[in-house]
Amino acid sequence: MAILELNHVSKSFGGLAANSDVSFRVEEGAIMGLIGPNGAGKTTLFNCITGYYSPTRGEIVFRGHRINGLQPDKVCKLGMVRTWQKVRPLTKLSVLENVMIGALCRTNSVKAARELAARQLELVKMENRADFLAGGLPIGERKKLEMARVLATDPQLLLLDEVMGGLNPTESDDIIQLILAIKERGITQVVIEHDMKAIMRVSDRVVVLNSGEKLAEGTPVDVVNNQLVIDAYLGKAISDGTV
């Protein structure tokens, strides 16, 4: 069952076409990788999907409902939530309070939100940072915080925008483990990433964007050996995990 469907989605700003006629389906419970060079329109697509932008053309269907132009808070309540390419911690609030904001999406009780938030922090192994001000965290923990925060909204579909950007190999590995753990919980994920090793490891399917258009789609192995993709983005063939 496709939890998310994009049908011929286009987004233009004035004369600039940031996304052109992008279509794909994401199966429930799967992990879809979304790759492509910088400026390919990946983040713009996320913005359209979550209601931050309204698509110029095309349809975005979530769990069978057309959600074009729905406000981001309504999209979140429906079960779809995203992280930001440039992390956005609520700097003057504590780590725990940050995650509580996510939890408050589902409950009106501050007490319940606090408990929910504490559990999410355990999942990302940041319980000891609960009272720390979010503004003082290093980048690796900010990324984990953002993930805990979106998980607290009890999503069915999680859109991760370069969640490994700027992390060292250990931190990236933590995130990969987290993504796999999230999959275990049955949450569907779409992952924008430049780290090809990570993409190969977690994705069930991969979509490649280039200059706003969908260039290719398929299993990770297929995509990575696709000549078009190699020419436009990868630069050389990736074989047997040498990259």
Partner: protein, 348 residues
């Protein structure tokens, strides 16, 4: 500060305030306390939209003035006692807040600030021009206040300042309690999320329009009540005193100096500013300087002081604001917190 210690201090302070009228007789001291409570009420309520939600309205005089005028007009023209009339003021203030919110909340940051100023000025100018309603620039002078009766028994006839003292004290306490409850509720968390990053909050399920308007309405209600109280306490309203940009700026300054986004910031800011302001205005400070003999009343400097110190309060505001913004942007309370946590880190 240990929670237990601060609670004890709080209770002691409240007790002291309640028994204050027993031990003090000077009506002038009462006047200063009443003004202090009023400043706390408007500051604390502004903080809800300004400090917690991050929308720095510099147009709150619109709500203060509306509360003042409605209460006054209903009492004077329709003989409706102010403790009932003020609720009509609150109703009108809510409507106005929603209208202003629908206009101004589409704008962000400094543009929101400018819009809030423009809207408040439109209201002030309208109050000046709609003479049949508000008596224009001449203002409205109150006749005697009706006696407050419960079941035929007169509780007070508002002759002395004492009833005003207790009413404003209770209002101030209520406002602070409400602010505290709001801050620790879901509303409070959503407000702060919007302040920190409106778009991130939006994507996490928070509807900014709803919450910004909620914050503004709560803030406007208490500011309007304060305006109504001010009208009957002072006995006179005109656009220049209750609806001016000066009032809006003063409200913000008290919070900046005391500590934006903290519960007690506006209270501390009021304590710092109101007594000094009043002391200057009433020449108390000038008198004190002359008494010490440092400066003679007859001397050039002396007469300069006598003439002008009364007007210096706004200058003090300006200097305080500049100093605080440059060196203590978190305000006095914020600064004290920083010092405290540094001290704790040092000890631990």
């Amino acid at each position: 500060m240990g929670s237990r210690l601060s609670n004890i201090i709080l209770l002691l302070t409240l007790a002291a305030l309640f028994f204050f009228p027993r031990f003090v007789e000077s009506p002038y001291a009462f006047h200063i306390m009443i003004l202090l409570f009023l400043s706390t009420i408007v500051g604390t309520s502004w903080n809800i939209i300004g400090g917690y939600t991050g929308q720095y309205s510099i147009g709150h005089a619109a709500y203060f003035g509306t509360g003042a005028y409605v209460t006054m007009v209903l009492m004077k023209d329709k003989q409706i006692p102010p403790w009932l009339g003020v609720w009509a003021g609150v109703a009108l203030v809510i409507i106005i807040a929603l209208v202003i919110g629908s206009i101004c909340f589409r704008l962000r940051g400094p543009y929101f600030v400018l819009a809030s100023i423009a809207v408040a000025e439109i209201m002030r100018l309208s109050a000046m021009n709609l003479k049949e309603l508000t008596n224009g620039a001449e203002g409205i002078l109150a006749t005697e206040l009706p006696a407050f009766r419960i079941g035929g028994r007169v509780l007070t006839d508002f002759v002395s300042k004492t009833p005003f003292y207790y009413i404003s004290l209770v209002l101030a306490v209520v406002t602070i309690v409400v602010a505290f409850l709001v801050l620790h509720s879901k509303l409070g968390y959503c407000f702060q999320a919007i302040r920190e990053d409106q778009d991130a909050a939006h994507a996490l399920g928070i509807n900014p329009t709803f919450y910004k308007n909620a914050a503004l309405v709560i803030s406007a209600i208490f500011t309007g009540i304060a305006g109504g109280f001010y009208a009957i306490y002072v006995g006179f309203v005109d656009p220049a005193t209750v609806m001016s940009l000066d009032i809006s700026v003063q409200i913000v300054l008290v919070c900046i100096i005391g500590g934006i986004g903290t519960i007690y910031g506006p209270l501390i800011g009021s304590i710092l500013i109101v007594p000094i302001t009043e002391a200057l205005r009433s020449n108390l400070i000038a008198e004190a300087i002359f008494k010490t003999g440092m400066v003679s009343q007859e001397s050039h400097f002396g007469s300069f002081l006598k003439e002008n110190l009364a007007h210096a309060h706004a200058l003090i505001y300006g200097i305080l604001v500049v100093l605080v913004i440059l060196f203590m942007p978190e305000g006095v309370v914020g600064f004290q917190r920083k010092l405290w946590s540094k001290w704790n880190k040092g000890l631990g």
